[in-house]
Amino acid sequence: MERQDLFDAFSSAMRGMADEALLGGRLHPGRVKSRLLEAHPPEVSGDGVEHMLVRLAADADLDAERIGDNLWALVGAKDVFFVDALNPRFWLLHSTATADKLRRLLTRHLLTSARLDQAWFSGEHLQQLEGERRWVRSSFSSDTLQPNESGAVVPRRWRIQVEGESPNDLLALVSREERYRAGAALTAVSSRLSEPGMGSAEVAADYQGGFVSSGTDFHLVAGVLWRSLDRYESYIRALEDRYRLGVDMTEAGGMSIDGDVALIEFPHDVEDLPALIANLFTCREPFRLWAVPREVSPGQWEANAVDLHVGHAITLEITSQWLRVLLGPHTCGNTLARLVANLQHRFDARVAVPLPSPA
């Protein structure tokens, strides 16, 4: 099957029509849900992707079938999920199955693998979703990291959706207010896409790399997804280029140390540092960080941590003013991206790691 044929089938599904002959009617009419995933196949090639997919699919009682050029179908009894791995590290998973079935496949079978993680968009990345903006959603909760937060500096929690004319402007207005700016984290955005002679579509994206598309033409959506993938890949590779710490031997027999320490300066002081330390390393979603932290000097903590998503060791150093992240020479940049995206939604929406702006 050509990629274009698959996009045609998705366009039909979005219009409420489904080809009963295609994959035994498992491609249902309805919205197309897509997820951007970051993968570490055992070999960076189509064969490596296939080896990994066959094992993951078997765990989920699905059959992995190669249906095109770096394109796979994970076929179940009633549903089908497509994996587009043209880029063997950054994959797109598509399906018209219900959101619940897709979530179950991801949380119980795919994202449990240390070789697979989801994308973690910062607010800046979400703002780059193309098209005419239809709505923006912001959600924030300081309960996870600061359960005893007074609410004076940082909102305890909120969830808002702004629809209508120029929704970005209203969220920007809120984020200029001193008492709300720490909570104005961008969680999801939706845009309308149209092109003369092609049709139209509406695509929504959230900060966990999820997309939902409706309308008449999936080809428009596919372009947006590919460009989002490219931007995300650039971001992750830039994090790795700058923040992976490595050591080499010099010609003179000495040692050269490469890479920077990622310094995240907190936009506001941590109110309860012991609580933040205790709640950051609980091994739970979304951070999934394992560590036994220790206070190395008054007010400064060190955590020799493990990112349980991927099984990489990292070091975090934390005070009430800043967080340093020391990546290993092979630590995945997605680890840092996940930390930043989740701190934006649970500590302060303005948290960022210094990098040149994504292209």
Binding site: V292, V296, L308, E317
Partner: protein, 176 residues
């Protein structure tokens, strides 16, 4: 260099090195080189449980002690053959102790006769292979084992109010 003060003293006049003594608020410098081959057992032990947990999380079956040494010791690339061997032997002793005490049943230590490879750890159990519903608790049990090995009291998680999303994830609510 301390968490609030940085000082340089020199004997005599050393070109390019002017003594200074400054106060600062930047905290301890980043631990880019957390240990070297002469570090105490106590400092090396800080880095061993995370290496074992990383191997468990990545579902590695076997890790040689030499690989662990390379992962925790930035100066590994410049160490002489004999120094490497001595360091690997020290790690092997520490790992043997961990596998016999606090992390018993999690991994075992196996001696090997090959040059430079004094041994390897074999992962015997990993929370990563558990049912997702019990996995977090199993990782937290690993934290308690490591805290015991490091003679440290594990910080207690402060219970926050569950969000609607978290309740839904735990099966407490249907779709919002």
């Amino acid at each position: 260099m301390g968490s609030q003060r940085v000082r340089l003293t020199t004997e005599g006049n050393v070109p390019g090195l002017t003594p200074f003594d400054e106060s600062h608020q930047a905290g301890l410098p980043p631990a880019r080189i957390p240990v070297d081959h002469q570090s105490s057992d106590e400092d090396l032990m800080e880095l061993l449980p995370p290496q074992i947990v990383a191997a468990q999380s990545a579902e590695e079956d076997i890790v040689s002690v030499e690989t662990i040494a390379e992962r925790i010791l930035p100066e590994w690339v410049v160490l002489a053959h004999g120094t490497r061997g001595a360091f690997v032997a020290r790690l092997a002793d520490l790992l043997r102790g961990l596998s016999a005490r606090e992390m018993r049943g999690q991994f075992r230590y196996e001696s090997l006769r090959q040059p430079h490879t004094r041994g390897r750890i074999v992962i015997e159990a990993t929370p990563a292979s558990r049912d997702p519903r019990g996995r977090t608790q199993a990782w937290q049990a690993q934290q308690r084992r490591a805290a015991s090995a490091l003679k440290r009291r594990q910080a207690q998680e402060a219970a926050g109010q569950l969000s609607l999303d978290e309740l839904a994830e735990q099966g407490g609510l249907a779709e919002e």
